[in-house]
């Protein structure tokens, strides 16, 4: 008997296998790229899966126009450096209606600019499969998610239509009107994502590293004033604090943590020794109970 392989090597190989299966079985796949650490790993795994070939599918970013500026810069640099085919889609109707994360509830905002935006883009280009970086460990409602997660017409997630999976057999034959979300990182944990970023020396958006940034304290959470659209309310003020982010999304909806961790190794150490899991920093999840579940049914993932 030989020694055990490292768990990251096993996870990586499994993800590559999933990427290759999906690319071979689906007519027109796309990689949902949201710029954060999970997408960074997802993209890296995709590049490994098809090396030395160019990625056989484009990247899709749903731009709500409220992402941190550093994220957009990182996205464009990544696409350029790796020669990727990047599609950026905005829900123009939603933007025209003036939907924004400051005046509207997070659930309305997310539904219009993210969920509807994603559906528009998938329909517009006719993608039948979309790769996502979701993990089963993210929270209980994801714990049963399949690697190939089927969507009925209208992108609806129907629990009764989810297909059983066994061994390494992945059945991607689509019925009429069906499409699929593919989750190559289903079996990764938050810690694995960070360990892997460190091991593979991947670049991430600088917002993950601590730095002095302008912040506003609101409802007990620290928000970053990334541009003039977020203004202090009466009684609030903008204060420079050394902060970083554990997750990245739309800046008015993403809470920062105060931290001194300014290099990758301290980030990873801090995450691995963290007292709370990552979703604490994501404000949209606190909006309504069972929010994740609902978003899944609606086709957010």
């Amino acid at each position: 008997m030989t020694a055990s392989p490292s768990h990251l090597d096993l996870l990586e190989a499994e993800s590559i296998h999933i990427f290759r299966e999906a690319a071979a079985q689906f007519r027109k796949p796309v990689l949902m790229y949201s710029i954060g650490k999970d997408s960074t790993v997802l993209l890296h795994l995709a590049r490994k899966a098809f090396f030395p070939q160019k990625l056989p599918f484009p990247l899709l970013h749903i731009d709500t126009t409220w992402k941190f500026r550093d994220m957009i810069a990182f996205r464009d640099k990544t696409a350029k450096d790796f020669g990727l085919d990047l599609i950026v889609h905005k829900n123009e109707d939603g933007l025209k209606q003036g939907i924004n994360p400051i005046d509207f509830s997070p659930s309305i905002y997310t539904d219009v600019l993210k969920t509807q935006g994603l559906k528009q883009a998938l329909d517009k280009y006719g993608f039948d499969a979309a790769f996502g970086g979701a993990r089963r460990d993210e929270e209980a409602s994801r714990a049963k998610e399949r690697v190939f997660s089927f969507r009925a017409a209208g992108h609806r997630w129907d629990p009764r239509k989810q297909r059983p999976e066994m061994w390494r057999l992945l059945n991607g034959r689509l019925g009429t009107g069906e499409s699929v979300r593919v989750f190559p990182m289903s079996n990764w944990t938050e810690k694995d994502v960070w360990r892997y970023i460190l091991r593979e020396k991947l670049d991430v958006v600088p917002l993950y590293l601590a730095k002095e940034r302008p912040t506003i304290e609101r409802n007990g959470q620290l928000l970053m004033q990334d541009d003039e659209r977020l203004q202090p309310k009466p009684g609030e003020k903008v204060v420079m604090r050394k902060i970083r982010f554990r997750t990245l999304g739309c800046y008015p909806l993403t809470a920062a943590v105060e931290s001194d961790a300014s290099d990758m190794e301290s980030i990873v150490a801090e995450t691995i020794n963290a007292q709370t899991s990552e979703r604490v920093g994501r404000l949209i999840d606190h909006d309504q109970s069972g929010a994740m579940e609902k978003k899944k049914q609606e086709g957010y993932f």
Partner: protein
């Protein structure tokens, strides 16, 4: 570079100290937990998480603050840690398997949890297909039940090789050795007919933590390992590099110049640069001139590694092909016999169009014939031409064209299949291939029977009955069978000799 060497290199490159929490863990073990409701499954998993895992502090705080107590004890109710998963049961998802992950000091564990009560056959079979080790839970007051037997049968069917009988609630039987020994004996009798390599019974109390992650003072008479110790010693996924080489081709990669690489995951055995490989269907061979990955070329690759193979000549293979050595090829099957777990609510219908999915191929089925249904309690089969959800069917499948397929007991991955509805795409049944034939007829009497005695007196004479030797016994028997099959002889093998109490202190 081997997978281990590449790990060392990359860990060193990242400047990670061996003892740091940033290190890669020593492999992954997938655990399936099964038992009847109230045997204490949630409490046991919760206790394991509490004692040995990297839970977040807020999760621990929730348990402490809740004030919920387990059973009649003063101890926190550790089963709370599983509450989220239990609530999710309400989703109404078909095939209800929840995945949970935790790290001990050295290892990644994945808990695959399937509900014990209704619809258990299909849930458990699909969950078990991912498992390296199964924990069968029983209540010390009731011991091994009919249900335990059915569970063991499903595990064996889908190829789980290591089982642990967790005899829980020992506190309620006064930590009695007699009670445990009797259950342990029943368990061995039960395991007798199955092909498990390792079957260990452990007396424990999930509530009080006896033998969960520490040795129990109350059961000094028990000298075996506690549960965690036993699990940390189990071999990880991807450890075996011996075995017969199989490489199912997923897709062909090109770099726009002269690179044409066959991409896939080695499903069994290993391959080196310079090896001659053969396409099972055409019989054509070529030499491996390059094993490509984005991290650099490799000299060899073993089972579980995802690679791209470049060959010296184009032998016209693409997705669906299986590469092997020329002497030990899979059969170009026209008919296969398979044991199928019926997963779909829709019963078998001879007028439905079905397809056969293998690891990388999708083959039209000309006829799917149900021969019999298997009774999991007696392991006997009863002739039947129909079959519905949760049944285990003995079937004969005639393919619309030949495909490279192995017998599951020889080489597991390339012997797994799924039945797919050609119109809806739904996954109808999943199963294992028990026989393959190239000529359209499965031989009845004309086959060669590799008996246990024959093997024990010959090829496997030097082996004992320990767990690792049982594994080796099976490996050699399979290799002999594959050789014979490649030469056109139909072969059946008996499982390794029964686990023997007297001879094997480890069991």
């Amino acid at each position: 570079m081997t997978i281990q060497a590449s790990l060392k290199a990359s860990t060193a490159a990242a400047g990670v100290k061996a003892a740091s929490p940033l290190r890669d863990l020593n492999g992954i073990v997938h655990l399936l937990t099964c038992g009847s409701v109230d045997d204490g499954k949630s409490t046991l998993i919760g206790r394991l998480l509490w004692d040995a895992s990297d839970l977040y502090e807020d999760q621990r705080e929730n348990v402490r603050k809740s004030g919920r107590k387990a059973a009649d004890s003063d101890l926190p109710d550790f089963s709370m840690l599983l509450d989220g998963l239990v609530a999710e049961r309400e989703q109404g998802i078909t095939i209800d398997i929840a995945w949970k992950y935790f790290d001990t000091e050295t290892r990644r564990f994945v808990i695959i949890d399937s509900p014990g009560h209704e619809q258990y056959t299909r849930n458990m079979a699909s969950g078990a297909s991912f498992a390296d080790v199964a924990i069968l839970l029983v209540d010390a007051r009731s011991g091994v039940k009919k249900q335990t037997k059915r569970h063991a049968a499903i595990l064996d069917l889908v190829g789980v090789k290591r089982v642990v009988l967790a005899v829980n609630k020992m506190d309620l039987v006064g930590y009695s050795e007699d009670v445990f020994r009797k259950i342990e004996a029943d368990f061995r009798t039960l395991c007798w007919k199955f092909g498990f390599w390792d079957a260990t019974a452990i007396p424990l109390s999930a509530v009080y933590g006896d033998n969960v992650s520490t040795k129990s003072d109350a059961m000094a008479w028990y000298t075996g390992p506690h549960l965690l110790e036993h699990l940390e010693k189990a071999p990880s996924r991807g450890t075996a590099s011996s075995g017969t080489f199989r490489f199912p081709v997923q897709t062909v990669l090109r770099d726009g110049q002269d690179f044409r690489g066959l991409a896939g995951t080695v499903s069994s055995g290993s391959v080196n640069v310079g090896d001659s490989v053969t396409d099972a269907l055409s019989g054509r061979s070529a030499k491996v001139i390059r094993i490509a990955t984005m991290d650099g070329d490799l000299k060899s690759a073993t089972s579980g590694q995802a690679i791209a193979l470049q060959l010296d000549v184009d032998i016209d293979v693409s997705r669906g092909a299986v590469l092997s050595s020329s002497e030990m090829r899979p059969i170009a099957a026209q008919t296969v016999e398979a044991r199928l777990v019926w997963l779909s609510e829709n019963a078998f219908n001879p007028r439905t169009g079905y397809l056969l999915r293998t690891v990388t191929d999708l083959i039209p089925i000309s006829t799917l014939e149900i021969k019999a249904l298997l009774d999991l309690e007696t392991m006997s089969s009863h002739p039947s031409a129909s079959c519905g959800v949760n049944d285990i069917a003995v079937t004969k499948i005639t393919l619309g064209r030949p495909a490279a397929i192995d017998v599951f007991s020889d080489i597991s991955e390339t012997g797994t299949v799924m039945i797919v509805d050609a119109v809806t795409g739904a996954s109808i049944a999943g199963g294992v291939v028990t026989a393959v034939n190239a000529k359209g007829e499965i031989l009845g009497d004309g086959h060669f029977n590799l008996t246990r005695e024959m093997l024990a007196n010959g090829l496997c004479r030097d082996l004992s009955l320990s767990s690792s030797d049982r594994e080796e016994f099976t490996r050699r028997a399979n290799e002999a069978a594959i050789l014979l099959r490649s030469a056109g002889v139909s072969v059946a093998i008996e499982p390794p000799p029964p686990i023997d109490d007297g001879l094997d202190p480890g069991l």
